[in-house]
């Protein structure tokens, strides 16, 4: 479970396949003494599905592939392999009156159906679908989008918008409240949507554990460069959250040391002569804000972000190691 949680913030990098395989292995290694295993597994699957939605913009696949992966994951872990969903299905069979008692009455049928629906609410499938739909709407994913595929002589339409997931919600009460919420999000301005996204991510999202891997930031930067500015805003939101966390415990002394080293590099660099063409090109890139926000600025921002975060992350780790070794020495 810890492995999954560690990998979760980077899940989109391998289309969440690694996490899916790890969940597969959870049953094989199920601890006999943990009574809450099924509940924790259900919650974990819900978290993964939510994270799929949070990372939607960074996930380098087509809309169709992403929606299909999310839908397939929810079906696999919150329906087909869900202790609660399958339990409710089994209970439904148990509640059916035996054949020798004759055909079930309307009331018996209603009671069986309603009890099973209620029992299904012990699981997270429909609530997860609702949350995923809402998160995607906050990111501006269209509600209705179709792609056409030609198979032989037939033209087949595939839903690749939020509606493909919304239609899978079984519980009518949840479905009824999801529709208006999605419409409300759709009517919001881009800024309002992103604010709501930030708030929701803070409440439900998973943050990478520090120190972070450089490769992650490289991938983040390259995806920012390739894609739309909206993605850059999302990256800024994620970054701001990470920095908030980092800032809580950073050691002032270590930070000053890092700053001193950086300033040493800057001072040395200032005396190195630069060709005039380079100076002028740099001035041009710095002067033009529009260029900065589209290319070099974002690249520079992203890269410096990973630089500082990794450094701060390492400082934090360093602090822990230093602290631990001091404690050991003091005990000795």
């Amino acid at each position: 479970m810890k492995l999954i949680e560690d990998w979760l913030p980077f899940g989109h990098l391998d289309d969440f396949k690694g996490i899916d395989e790890l969940i597969d292995r959870m049953d094989e290694n199920r601890p006999k003494t943990v009574l809450t295993f099924n509940y924790r597994k259900e919650k974990l699957a819900q978290k993964v599905a939510q994270e799929m939605a949070f990372q939607y913009k960074f996930w380098n696949k087509s809309d169709g592939e992403k929606i299909e992966t999310i839908s397939g994951f929810i079906d696999k872990w919150l329906k087909d392999n869900s202790y609660y969903y399958q339990g409710a299905e089994k209970y439904k069979d148990l509640l059916q009156p035996p054949e020798e008692m004759g055909k079930p009455t309307k009331i018996e049928k209603w009671f069986t159906k309603e009890t099973s629906t209620l029992l299904k609410l012990l699981g997270e499938r429909d609530r997860t679908l609702k949350q995923v739909c809402e998160i995607l709407a906050m990111e501006g994913v269209p509600y209705q989008k179709e792609i056409k595929e030609i198979q032989g002589e037939k033209e087949i339409k595939h839903e690749v918008g939020i509606r493909a997931l919304y239609n899978q919600i079984e519980n009518q009460n949840i479905k009824r409240t999801t529709g208006p919420k999605l419409r409300k999000i759709e009517e919001m301005t881009k800024k309002e949507r992103l604010q709501l996204f930030t708030k929701t991510k803070k409440e439900l999202g998973v943050l990478p554990k520090l120190p972070l891997k450089l490769e992650y930031y490289e991938s983040l930067v390259s995806s920012i460069l390739k894609e739309d500015p909206e993605k850059a805003e999302l990256a800024a939101i994620c970054a701001s959250e990470i920095l908030d966390k980092v800032n809580q415990k950073e050691g002032k002394e270590q930070l000053a040391q890092m700053k001193e080293k950086a300033q040493g590099i800057i001072a040395k660099e200032q005396i190195v002569p630069k060709p005039e063409a380079v100076q002028k090109a740099k001035e041009h890139l710095e002067k033009k804000k529009s260029i900065l926000s589209q290319a070099a600025g974002l690249a520079g921002y992203g890269l410096l972000l990973f630089l500082v975060l990794v450094l701060l992350g390492e400082i934090k780790l360093g602090e822990k190691i230093t602290g631990a070794s001091t404690n050991i020495l003091q005990k000795k």
Binding site: L214, E218, V221, L225, A236, A239, S240, L243, N247, E250, L255, M258, K259, K261, A262, Q263, I265, I266, E269, K274, P275, E276, A277, V278, K280, A281, K282, H284, L285, E286, K288, K289, I291, L292, S293, A295, A296, G297, A299, G300, Y301, L303, L304, L305, F306, L307, V308, V310, L311, E314
Partner: protein, 84 residues
């Protein structure tokens, strides 16, 4: 660097980060410049001394395509230098 982005960093680091960004950009541009042949180097000097933003943009797109990857490499180097 865009001021809004800069505000994301701790206040005591903002100035240093802004200067580090300058160093990275300068180093990447110098490497990109050194990769050009003499003719293109002269052209770059000529274009960037003129007041023609479109020509400058075209030059960046045409001859300094790998600037982004050079920025990545230079940032990694800076990171290593600071960690030493």
């Amino acid at each position: 660097m865009d001021q809004n982005f800069l505000k994301l960093f701790p206040p005591e680091l903002q100035e240093t980060i802004s200067s580090l960004y300058d160093v990275i950009l300068e180093r990447a541009l110098t490497r990109a410049y050194q990769n050009l042949d003499e003719e293109k180097k002269a052209l770059m000097a000529q274009i960037f001394s003129l007041d023609n933003d479109k020509a400058k943009e075209n030059f960046l797109k045409e001859y300094l395509k790998d600037l982004d990857s050079l920025i990545v490499e230079e940032t990694k180097k800076i990171l290593e230098e600071i960690k030493k």
